[in-house]
């Protein structure tokens, strides 16, 4: 049977990777161990990151948060800091897997698995998350947007490890909406999801809009043209119809056993109309909706 290593610090992790450069890393096991069981991969050794203190923890950084890569979804969902500063991420975490999966799976795992259906990816990309990646030799910061290069493909280099996810606060956006369309509520792999951050002025004019969709392309899809259609105008059915048409052109969904490409394309646009139902929140009352 394979060797399993449980390093307790980054120092120990680097030593393990020196000896086992081809080892597969995991923290919650909710993706890797499933893939191994299905025969989709067979790494020569395993390294479990769950005991590395440096990969845990959540702390304020400016108006945002620095989230240790091995923090579980359940811990983040319980955290008042996440709810207060990144309500859109909290909404997405609430739809991820099931309470059991959330007890095991980690934010870093969701990022590095890089599934087109990864539930935390649209809100993290909308919020402008930056990844802190480390090797024994040094560290580099890469925007999440650039890190994921395809379905299950990332810019992670050999012996490099995701240390933390740094997310700017989303306090400037008084409309925050995340919605996931799945075949059931729990344990549903995403069919289409959308994360929307809007800054809406007192008179209802959209001052800033950031939109991101999951499961409608090889990676998270953004659509600056649709954002531009919304900015400088009051939210209206007419504006959203124009934005939805642009989004439907931009996405490149596939047919799979959960839904057809045509359905995904239609729904990716339709989700925008939910924004008419989300009232802008007053300062100090973070908007949470899904």
């Amino acid at each position: 049977m394979k060797n399993l290593y449980l390093p307790r610090s980054l120092e120990e992790l680097w030593r393990v990777l020196e000896r086992e450069p081809k080892a597969a890393l995991y923290a919650g096991g909710t993706d890797l161990l499933v893939r191994m069981r299905a025969g989709m991969c067979s790494p020569p050794a395993l390294v479990c990151l769950e005991r590395i203190g440096e990969l845990k923890g959540l702390r304020e950084e400016g108006d945002g948060l620095r989230i240790g890569a091995a923090e579980t979804h359940a811990n983040l969902l319980r955290s008042p800091l996440v709810r207060e500063r990144l309500p859109i991420l909290a909404s997405a975490l609430g739809t991820l897997g099931s309470p059991l999966i959330r007890n095991m799976g980690t934010l870093g795992g969701n990022v590095c698995t890089a599934s087109p259906a990864g539930d935390t990816l649209p809100p993290l990309i909308a919020a402008g998350a930056v990844l802190e990646l480390g090797t024994p030799g040094g560290r580099r910061n890469v925007p999440l947007r650039d890190f994921i290069t395809g379905p299950g493909e990332t810019d992670l280099r050999p012996r490099e490890v995701l240390l933390s996810v740094r997310v700017p606060g989303t306090g400037a956006f008084n409309v925050q909406h995340f919605e996931k369309v799945g075949l059931r509520n729990a344990l549903a792999c995403c069919v289409v999801s959308m994360a929307a951050l809007l800054a809406v002025a007192g008179e209802g004019v959209v001052e800033k809009a950031v939109l991101a969709w999951g499961s409608v392309g090889p990676t998270v899809v953004t659509c600056p043209e649709a954002e531009a259609v919304l900015v400088g105008e009051r939210l209206s059915g007419e504006r959203l119809r124009r934005a939805a048409a642009l989004v439907r052109e931009r996405v490149s969904p596939i047919d799979d056993l959960r839904a057809s490409a045509a359905y995904r394309r239609e729904v990716a646009g339709n989700l925008l109309f939910r924004l008419l139902d989300v009232p802008p929140r007053q300062p100090g009352f973070p908007a949470v909706s899904r």
């Binding site: 049977m1 394979k2 399993l4 161990l33 769950e50 897997g97 059991l100 999966i101 095991m104």
Partner: protein, 157 residues
């Protein structure tokens, strides 16, 4: 050797660290209350408590138990007495084939520890990682509700 506390007793096991915990429990330790359903984290039948939190033993490897405290359904209640949550499952008729029951019971115990007074929506949410192919879930939610009510009336669990 992997050392951990299992159902209140310190144990040391000599198995490969990459062995799945569900196999360790069932095949090496003879604790067959923990079931393996899908083996992919989607059915909840293999749920155990690790340091009090529900975990899927099909997605845990034996080495990860080092130093932890593990509770399986066999360890919920000492002796022949049932744990109040188990009793509620029996009394409410929440068990049909019984395959999902050990996992359901362990998640319910954890849910009631975190939220002693859940409403039915919170119970459904708390139990949403478990699949039952017999009951349609109504009686399972009834059982968790009944266990919460009894706990509120002073049942010590």
């Amino acid at each position: 050797m992997i050392a951990f506390v299992l159902n209140g007793k310190a144990v040391e096991v000599n198995v490969p660290a990459a062995k799945k915990v569900v196999d360790l429990l069932r095949l090496d330790l003879g604790l067959t209350g923990t079931k393996e359903g899908c083996g992919m984290g989607e059915c909840g039948a293999c749920t155990i408590l690790v340091d009090g939190e529900p975990r899927l033993s099909c997605l845990l490897l034996a080495g990860q138990l080092e130093g932890r405290t593990v509770t399986t359904v066999e360890g919920l209640s000492p002796g022949e007495d049932l744990h109040p949550v188990q009793r509620a499952f029996v009394e409410e008729g929440a068990v049909q084939c019984g395959f999902c029951t050990p996992g359901m019971v362990l998640s319910a115990v954890s849910l009631l520890r975190e939220n002693p007074n859940p409403n039915r929506r919170e119970i459904r949410e708390g139990m949403s990682g478990h699949l039952c192919r017999c009951t349609g879930y109504v009686k399972i939610v009834d059982a968790v509700e009944a266990a919460a009510r009894k706990k509120g009336e002073g049942d010590p669990s």
